[in-house]
């Protein structure tokens, strides 16, 4: 994998630092056992962040991931009778197909992905409510065993978190050793330059959005099955968490920079923070404050450290469609 070690080390240090801060004062936190809930949180946010970061690498942003995850959860729970793998596969297929359509529309229209995905965020959220009749969809009692399967504890992992880790490995490989993966970096690092060099711009965008919707769908499906219920509005906060994790992990908003290892570190950092707070008995909203704070701190640090990137963004020409 093309890993920028210089970029990764400070982030790993940050993750360890956050862990240490909480571990020093909280005995429960120090225990190895505590890594299990950490990785459970990692499982869902990791998938969302992974997909989101692919769109960010391409120089776009998919705001609809929360709604998509909700829809996937509803599909999976409703179809739980098919068995674990088939119902999840069905959910992922549906969301991935939607992602492909969305990516195609964005690429062909040349429209800014922010504008487009705000609309789809609303629409798909509405769809979730329609599909679930405005209430939580409970899993069929016969299929409760599925939840157990997913939360089956294997040391500090579970099938859910292992799936996420596998997804990271696969997407990471895709991005670093395939031509299509490189094209995503290319159009993100310099849309005009890539076009001038002959890179097709439609395909990488379609791939990026298919991945973001598909991975969010995978996360939503598994998380909903795990909890035994799918709530139509249950994934509203994953967008913030995903973006924060991606940025903390070194994925640049301006496109073209970042790698999945960094994203994984970013998700872990966030999870260390959140689990540390909850272990202390803090209310859920403190997590919001902390996440927002972490995001702002990382943004400011990046600003100071790399004015060059920001100046290039600020001097961007007045007419360039598609750049967030």
């Amino acid at each position: 994998m093309n890993v920028n070690v210089a970029n990764l080390l400070p982030r790993v240090a940050l993750a360890i630092g956050v862990w240490v801060v909480f571990a020093l004062t909280d005995e429960n936190y120090r225990r190895v056992d505590n890594f299990f809930p950490v990785f459970e949180g990692f499982a869902l946010i990791g998938l969302v962040a992974l997909g989101l970061s692919v769109t960010m690498l391409a120089g776009e942003l998919d705001l609809s991931v929360g709604s998509v995850a909700a829809v996937a959860g509803i599909i999976a729970v409703k179809q739980s009778g098919l068995g674990l793998v088939p119902c999840v596969a069905l959910a992922v297929l549906c969301t991935a197909a939607f992602g492909a359509a969305q990516g195609y529309a964005i690429a062909r229209l040349g429209i800014n992905s922010l504008v487009f995905t705000i609309g789809t965020l609303i629409a798909i959220s509405g769809l979730a409510y329609v599909m679930s009749d405005e209430q939580s969809v409970l899993i069929d009692l016969n299929d409760l065993g599925l939840s157990d399967t997913i939360t089956n504890r294997l040391w500090i992992f579970s099938p859910f978190s292992l799936t996420t880790i596998a997804a990271f490995v696969l997407v990471g490989a895709f991005l670093s050793v395939t031509r299509w993966g490189r094209e995503i970096y290319a159009i993100g690092g310099g849309r005009n330059e890539a076009r001038a060099a002959g890179v097709a711009t439609v395909r990488p965008i379609v791939i990026a959005f298919t991945l973001s919707a598909g991975l969010a769908g995978l996360g939503g499906a598994l998380a909903s099955l795990k909890s035994g219920a799918a709530q139509p509005g249950g994934y509203d906060s994953v967008l913030l968490a995903g973006v924060t994790a991606a940025l903390v992990g070194g994925v640049s908003l301006y496109g073209g920079r970042g790698d999945v290892l960094g994203v994984a570190v970013g998700v872990l950092t966030l999870q260390f923070l959140l689990s540390g707070l909850s272990s202390r008995g803090a209310e859920f909203y403190v997590g919001s404050l902390a996440t927002g704070g972490l995001l702002l701190v990382v943004l400011l640090v990046e600003l100071i450290v790399d004015r060059r990137q920001v100046l290039r963004y600020m001097r961007r020409p007045a007419f360039s469609a598609g750049e967030p």
Binding site: A186, G189, A196, G198, P317, A318
Partner: protein, 469 residues
């Protein structure tokens, strides 16, 4: 094959036809005797044609190896870093970049190195016909040497190279034949060994200077702008010059000569590394732009699309932007004043007053340029600096712009403009300063210079003379 010609002669159009961006209205293209259709960039690439433009097409965040691989369709299978680097090395070696780590992101390379990476990419794509558009424009002397040697070596290997340039010394150094374009027409190619510097210069000049330049006036005013020993990015040696009230100073120089850099430093667009600038006897600090504007310096860049115009706003709004302080004295826009100023400026610049409420993007190139220039008069500057005053402007509007510059000078402004069109400089300016490769070559009254003199200065023909001897 060196392709020569002034701006507007048709060089870039020809390049666009060859690379599939523009369709020819008539005529045929043939490669190896077979007619070809170059209707899309992909077809052009498939035909073995590749181009290195002035605006490089390297993605900054990708490595050299990756940049060389993308977009060409010639790399299949797994794209591991090791493989890409391995594939890239031989071509990087060919262009003399064997010391480079192909896995470094391209943004950490110098412009010269990036240029060579682009050439390496062409080679990796097995291009047989290379088009290089002003490849040495942004390079330092020693780098130019390397590039020209490389180009010669590539041609010696059997590739065809179209070398678009204005630098005659390079032409005599490495070109086999020369094609001169004039006013959209090409002359038959001539072998370089059959040319001397003078005959080549004569071929380029060709047409008589049109009578589109206004009468000069005597400029005995006081010095308004004094630039002493300034150094800035793009200049290789300090530059000093003075512009008097009523005088038009023309800075002649081609791409990479440093002429526009002087203006930009005075205008506050780039940092002054050394030297002083004085306006009407008082030394001023000109960075950032707002300070320069307050000191009475107005600057109009060469790229009105980038920073000279607000295309989706109306002409009136465009014209009154620098003068918002006067047009909206207490924060509220006084419509009457705005209208009056816009009409006044429109009248002065002969812009159709009926178009004042239309979007600036609906104007022709010439009128857009007038707006980009004209808006500065609203703040009553002491100095007007312009880069490429008639770039992208049709012939009719050119004469008008020249006349306006002259009128402004007559009204007491100090006007200085930089242009790569040496005929324009000679025709309009009272005093001419010639630049080549970041150095001021000479300053002389326009009446004492001939077109050939200026052309020689800006193309460093002294070196060319030595080469052609």
């Amino acid at each position: 094959m060196a392709l020569l010609g002034e701006n507007g002669a048709g060089k870039s159009t020809l390049v666009k036809i060859l690379t599939g961006l523009v369709r020819p209205d008539a005529g045929t293209l043939a490669i190896d005797g077979q007619p070809v259709e170059l209707s899309t960039p992909a077809r052009s690439r498939a035909a073995g044609i590749a181009v290195v433009q002035q605006e490089l097409s390297l993605v900054p965040t990708l490595s050299a190896a990756e940049n060389m691989a993308i977009g060409g369709g010639h790399v299949s299978g797994l794209w591991t870093r090791r493989r890409l680097v391995r594939d890239a090395r031989p071509y990087l070696e060919l262009v003399g970049l064997d010391y480079l780590d192909p896995a470094m992101p391209v943004e950490s390379l110098s412009i010269a190195e990036r240029q060579r990476v682009e050439i390496a990419r062409l080679l990796a794509r097995q291009a047989r016909i290379l088009i290089l558009d002003e490849p040495t424009a942004a390079l330092a002397d020693v780098e130019i040497e390397r590039v020209t040697q490389l180009v010669r070596a590539l041609a010696d290997e059997g590739r065809s190279v179209i070398y678009v340039t204005h630098r005659l010394d390079e032409v005599f150094q490495i070109a086999d034949r020369v094609t001169v374009l004039r006013n959209g027409e090409s002359q038959p190619p001539v072998a370089v060994r059959e040319l001397t510097l003078d005959t080549l210069v004569a071929r380029i000049l060709g047409r008589p200077l049109e009578a589109m330049f206004p009468e000069r006036n005597r400029s005995d005013g006081d010095p308004v702008l004094q630039v002493v020993d300034v150094l800035t990015d793009g200049l290789a040696a300090p530059v000093s010059l003075t512009v008097h009230a009523g005088e038009i100073l023309g800075l002649a120089g081609q791409l990479g000569s440093g002429a526009p850099r002087v203006l930009r430093a005075v205008a506050g667009v780039q940092h002054l590394r050394a030297g002083q600038v004085s306006v009407a006897g008082r030394q001023v600090v000109t960075y950032p732009i707002r300070r320069a504007i307050r000191a009475g310096i107005a600057y109009c860049s060469d790229d009105r699309k980038r920073d000279g115009l607000f295309p989706i706003r109306t002409v009136t709004e465009n014209l009154t932007t620098p003068a918002l302080g006067a047009v909206a004295p207490h924060g509220v826009v006084v419509r009457r004043r705005e209208k009056r100023l816009a009409q006044e400026l429109a009248g002065f610049f002969q812009l159709d007053r009926r178009r004042l409420d239309h979007r600036a993007s609906t104007l022709s190139g010439g009128n857009q340029q007038k707006v980009a220039l004209g808006k500065w008069l609203g703040v009553r500057p002491r100095v007007l600096l312009v880069e490429e005053p008639t770039l992208g402007v049709d012939v009719g509007a050119r004469a008008e712009i020249y006349a306006h510059l002259r009128t402004l000078a007559r009204d007491g402004l100090a006007v200085a403009f930089a242009s790569s069109d040496f005929a324009e400089v000679l025709g309009v300016a009272d005093t001419v300063a010639t630049f080549y490769r970041g150095r001021l070559v000479r300053i002389a009254p326009a009446t004492e210079l001939s077109a050939a003199d200026v052309l020689r200065d800006v193309t460093h023909a002294a070196a060319a003379k030595a080469a052609s001897a």
